[in-house]
């Protein structure tokens, strides 16, 4: 299991989801990916994308104008 980061700031929905999807596709099951966004919609969209694609949201938080989401890549 390894940790990865993705900067998805200053882009708007659905681009943070697309960037997350494309990054997750390069990772192994069990890897963790932390995505930082400025579009508050990501707080809904990335977890929704995780639910339907078999990934697990580990942690979400808001720090000022930033939304930080950590997910664990699933087997899919």
């Amino acid at each position: 299991m390894s940790q990865h980061k993705l900067d998805a700031r200053r882009i708007l929905c659905p681009l943070p989801v697309i960037r997350t999807q494309d990054k997750a596709a390069t990772l192994k099951a069990g890897d963790q990916l932390t995505v930082t966004c400025t579009d508050p919609g990501a707080l809904n969209d990335i977890p929704a994308w995780c639910r339907i694609n078999g990934h697990k949201v580990i942690h979400t938080e808001q720090q000022g104008d930033e939304v930080i989401i950590t997910l664990e890549v699933g087997d899919a």
């Binding site: 659905p14 809904n44 969209d45 694609n53």
Partner: protein
Amino acid sequence: MTQPKAISLISGGLDSMLATKVVMDQGVHVEGINFFTGFCVEGHTHAIRKRDQKKEKRNNALWCAEQLGIKLHIVDVIDEYKDVLLNPKHGYGANLNPCQDCKTFMIRKALEWIEKNGFDFIITGEVVGQRPMSQRKDLMPVIAHESGAGERLLRPLSAINLPETLPEREGWVRHDELLGFNGRNRKPQMALAAQYGFTDYATPAGGCCFLTDEKYSKKVVDMWEHRSSRDYELDDIMLLKVGRHIRPRPNFKMIIGREEGENKFMEGYRRQFISLHTTSHNGPLVLLDGKDISTDDVELASRIAARFGQGRSADSVTVQAVWPEGETRDFAVSPMPVHEIDESWYV
């Protein structure tokens, strides 16, 4: 027999959701695909504008996929889509919407996806006669042919009215369990939605694409007319969704934030454009988009910018101009009276 596999174009609207469900109920493994062109209405302006931030922000395509219990693949086609918009073989609709070419392009991309991923056919939620450009009965075979999908394209909601396709002939789906919807009447879709228990679905009044919007299309045309080429980058089409656009002179236009959310969004562009903000009074952030912008241009823009701030009635307003390289200069200006702002300047 192995379970047949289909990819369904999920727009986030009801029709694609129903079409997917109809095929899923026949035992086909379905996954969704959604293409992001840059012009999708989905959430952008809501995300930007402060006053909309209390509204629920959901991506309807993701939401539909979750309701259906299927995977969704969202594909960035921003660069490839330029050719569709700039050179539509079948022309534009009422505005800059190249609907027929757009549909053909998306089905072609879906075809590439199924060929790469070992899927069997493509599903769309198209209904014969529902839309004047892209869903006419005579155009549906043209779109199937020009996309390259041919008989691998199934339109489950109107399949009874259309020639048999490969999934029907191969027995992957049962033809008599498909539907014969026709025309603009939405009642059959709503009845089917009720039958499936879908009570919450997106009904975008103006469609899901900014290019169908008259005001947005005018801004795109204005941008092209004042540049040396009909081209665009993602930042261009994003900024066309934000603020008031005023072109007081041919060589530049002003993008004036309308509220806090837009100002904040535009902040991110201050390293690309000359920006203006009033320092003596509260006021909007303004970006100047153009070329060869002179000091005289900036002063004129400062007078207009002052008009849109709280100092609009003051004798003098201080406007600070910041160049992308970091140079700053203050202009003490009298706000331009409203009658001097020519209506034709508004883009």
